[in-house]
């Protein structure tokens, strides 16, 4: 027998188009297309399988029809009548076993011919061919809960990739020498490196590679706007769809968790210096992890009774299961990070008191103050801020009232104002908790919707109505000051101004009424003033956010650092994490000097 590396190589491997022993080419040159012809038996008849190295061409040269999505498990070797799928095949000339044929009938027919020769390099195919092949593999969709089922539960909508889908998707990566995707990642994850490990089926290694830069990969894989960050830079995206980096990140993080492969690093150089982190959101957790790994003693102060900040009170279960947030936080606990719940800094303890007891303080309290438009009737009963609505639903589990204490802010006809992810979260939560008609009202057009396309798509699938180019001008109440309708006005976008942005303006006399019994304002958030009430020296900008150095995250108070939404205004999880990392770097640098 020949020395074959029978490791299941799949997409990591190389296509071979001639026998490596007798060097007889398998290729049938037809014009510009190289093809591999295999004799086979299909449905009891002899036939020629023509496999193109371009992978999307699969033909059976016979009159035997192949139905779409047919699982080709009865394609047999004409000699031994064994299945060709995942079976060794032999060179037609010399009889040497040279490879496997693996036929995948997932979303479409994608045949692979894989050489199993150890150390095998590309034969008969150039690098350019490799590139073309990869360009032909479609971006793999994630299986997800059926829309008719999911509106009746709070379980996560996408199921995530299977290992097969993840391998296929990882195979699309061109492994660029100067990868642009990394430039798009606020925490500099070595994206090509983790994908390379995935292609070698080393999912655990891939997870560890991500964790070198990101302590919350399962979270980021789910809620990061990759389409405007790493994936926006992917070269494949120029002509086709970019590599689904976020989905791959999610897959390996889930794999590591499910396979119980998480390893807690041993921290060798412990110091006696203490770090206080205010807020247990993504930025605070990043600072805590980074500093704990550097040997500092870290205490995180959380105002609420559960950890996770916006990941817990803001993002619904169907988009980010709380068990995943808890798992990631448990990793920090294992690292030795201490957590103090129900600690409102600015009230129970002041920033100055923290400075007395700790060597450095990081403020990452987010932007938790609701913002209202300022139109008439916003204080009527059943007009909620998205903060209140989502906190009641996600944190207080109001939808499980009376099992949980918080009554559910339910309406049959609900109007959501705003077009961001938070608005989508509110709308999709409302539809899951029994509201019969949920309408999103947004002042601009579909093109300007700030929510992720994926969230808009899911919302539409779930029956949420969109009233675009529409703005509320007044909330109308009953005699008992409870909401009964929203008066809206139609808008049009005028020509771009000097900023290049088209602005919405009301169309005269286009007012109309939407009857509803609940409204949720989801137009953005602002800084919560509590922490400043006892720290007047903490310099703020005109919007009330902390004035911190963009690179070092230092504030106007020595030893106090800040980052995330409380500095930038509401942004993304990963940007908050990036700020946390920058602050941790500065803290370590400065504390190491002493």
């Amino acid at each position: 027998m020949l020395d074959l590396d029978i490791k299941y190589l799949k997409f990591k491997t190389y296509l071979n188009t001639y026998c490596p022993y007798c060097h007889q080419s398998f290729n049938v040159e037809t014009k510009d297309k190289k093809q591999l012809v295999l004799k086979a038996v299909f449905k009891g008849q002899e036939t020629d399988l023509i496999l193109s190295p371009y992978l999307d061409v699969f033909e059976v040269e016979s009159s035997i029809p192949i139905e779409t999505n047919e699982v080709l498990d009865d394609i047999l070797c004409p000699e031994c009548h064994k299945s060709l799928i995942s079976k060794e095949i032999c060179c037609g000339e010399c009889g040497s076993p040279v490879g496997h044929v693996i036929i995948s009938a997932l979303s479409r027919l994608i045949p692979f011919f894989i050489c199993l020769k150890k150390g095998c390099e590309w034969h008969g195919l150039t690098k350019s061919d490799e590139r073309k092949i990869k360009l032909k593999i479609p971006r793999q969709e994630m299986p997800e809960q059926d829309k008719t089922l999911r509106i009746h539960n709070h379980q996560e909508v996408p199921y995530g990739y299977t290992s097969e889908l993840a391998s296929l998707e990882a195979g699309r990566c061109l492994q660029c020498k100067a990868p642009k995707c990394v430039e798009g990642c606020p925490v500099d994850i070595d994206i090509p490196a983790f994908i390379k490990l995935m292609r070698e089926n080393d999912f655990d290694g891939a997870a560890k590679k991500i964790k070198e830069r990101n302590v919350l990969p399962a979270v980021c894989g789910r809620v990061c706007p990759q389409e405007s960050q790493c994936e926006a830079k992917c070269i494949l995206g120029i002509k086709d769809m970019p590599v689904a980096i976020g989905r791959l990140e999610r897959f390996v993080a889930d794999f590591e968790r499910k396979m119980d492969l998480v390893k807690i690093p041993v921290i060798k150089n412990k110091t006696n210096k203490r770090i206080a982190v205010v807020g247990s959101g993504p930025g605070g957790l990043t600072v805590a992890a980074d500093m704990a790994l550097l040997g500092y003693s870290v205490t995180v102060f959380e105002a609420l009774h559960e950890l996770g900040g916006v990941l817990t009170y803001g993002i619904p279960e169907f988009r980010l299961p709380k068990s995943i947030v808890q798992f990631e936080i448990n990793y920090l606990k294992e690292l030795g990070v201490r957590f103090e719940l129900n600690h409102v800094i600015g009230n129970i303890l002041t920033v100055d008191e923290l400075r007395e007891h700790f060597d450095a303080v990081y403020i990452g309290v987010g932007a938790g103050l609701p913002v209202f438009m300022g139109v008439e009737g916003e204080s009527l009963g059943n007009v909620f801020s998205s903060n209140e609505y989502l906190t009641r639903m996600n944190l207080m589990k109001a939808y499980r009232f009376p099992e949980y204490d918080t009554p559910m802010p339910k309406g049959n006809k609900v109007v959501i104002v705003g077009g961001g992810n938070v608005a989508m979260d509110c709308a999709r939560t409302a539809i899951r908790t029994g509201s019969t008609e949920v309408t999103i009202v947004y002042r601009r057009s579909r093109h300007e919707l700030p929510a992720r396309l994926e969230e808009v798509h899911h919302a539409e699938e779930e029956g949420i109505k969109f009233k675009l180019l529409t703005s509320p001008v007044r909330y109308i109440g009953t005699d008992y000051n409870s909401l009964k309708a929203v008066e809206c006005i139609k808008m049009e976008l005028v020509e771009p101004d000097s900023s290049g942005r088209r602005r919405p303006v009301p169309i005269k006399d286009s007012n109309f009424i939407i009857e509803c019994d609940s409204a949720i304002i989801a137009i953005g958030t602002g800084p919560n003033p509590i922490i400043f009430s006892t720290s007047p020296d903490l310099k703020r900008n005109k919007w009330g956010y902390i004035d911190a150095n963009e690179k070092t995250m230092e504030t106007s108070i020595p030893k106090v650092y800040a980052g995330g939404d409380i500095v930038t205004g509401s942004a993304t999880v990963i940007l908050a994490m990036g700020a946390g990392r920058a602050a941790a770097n500065t803290m370590h640098k400065q504390l190491s000097k002493k």
């Binding site: 913002v371 438009m373 300022g374 139109v375 008439e376 104002v417 705003g418 077009g419 961001g420 938070v422 608005a423 947004y442 002042r443 700030p450 703005s471 001008v473 007044r474 006005i489 005028v494 101004d497 900023s499 942005r501 602005r503 919405p504 303006v505 009301p506 989801a522 137009i523 953005g524 602002g526 310099k539 703020r540 900008n541 005109k542 919007w543 009330g544 004035d547 205004g569």
Partner: protein
């Protein structure tokens, strides 16, 4: 309503209006609890001083023109509930206050242009209305970009 007999009368009136605005914002700035808001209102006062200087220049040189440029009116302030000035105002409230103030001035000059006794005075009032409209738009754009970011 005050009657205007000449271009100078109008410019004097407009200059006084700008000066009042300077004093209004400077007074607010001195009352603010937060430093950043003190700076904001001082900046508003500075902007009004700039407007006043522009009018003084027109008065001195006697040259002005009504631009054909159409100034967008986002009409944001039309639907906002007015909030009284207070020493703990947020920047959002400050913008609403400023938008409403500029809108009032715009309406005043527009009304005066309609009542103007001759074409020369009418065009001057229109120029002043246009200026106020520009000032309002500057606040509306900031409100649109920051407060109504996700709306």
């Amino acid at each position: 309503m005050k009657e205007f007999g000449s271009v100078n009368d109008i410019l004097e009136f407009a200059i006084c209006q700008e000066q009042e605005a300077v004093e209004f914002y400077s007074d607010l700035a001195s009352k603010m609890k937060i430093e950043a808001m003190r700076i904001v209102f001082n900046q508003f006062a500075q902007e009004e001083m700039g407007h006043k200087a522009k009018l003084l220049d027109i008065k001195e040189k006697g040259i002005y023109e009504v631009s054909s440029e159409i100034i967008s009116d986002l009409k944001i302030s039309d639907y906002l509930v007015k909030t009284p000035a207070a020493n703990d105002m947020t920047y959002q409230e400050a913008l609403v206050l400023a938008m409403n103030k500029e809108k009032s001035s715009f309406k005043l000059y527009l009304n005066l242009s309609e009542r103007a006794p001759n074409a020369e005075l009418k065009s001057l009032f229109l120029m002043l209305a246009q200026e106020e409209s520009k000032h309002k738009l500057r606040f509306e754009i900031e409100y649109d970009d920051m407060v109504l970011k996700e709306n």
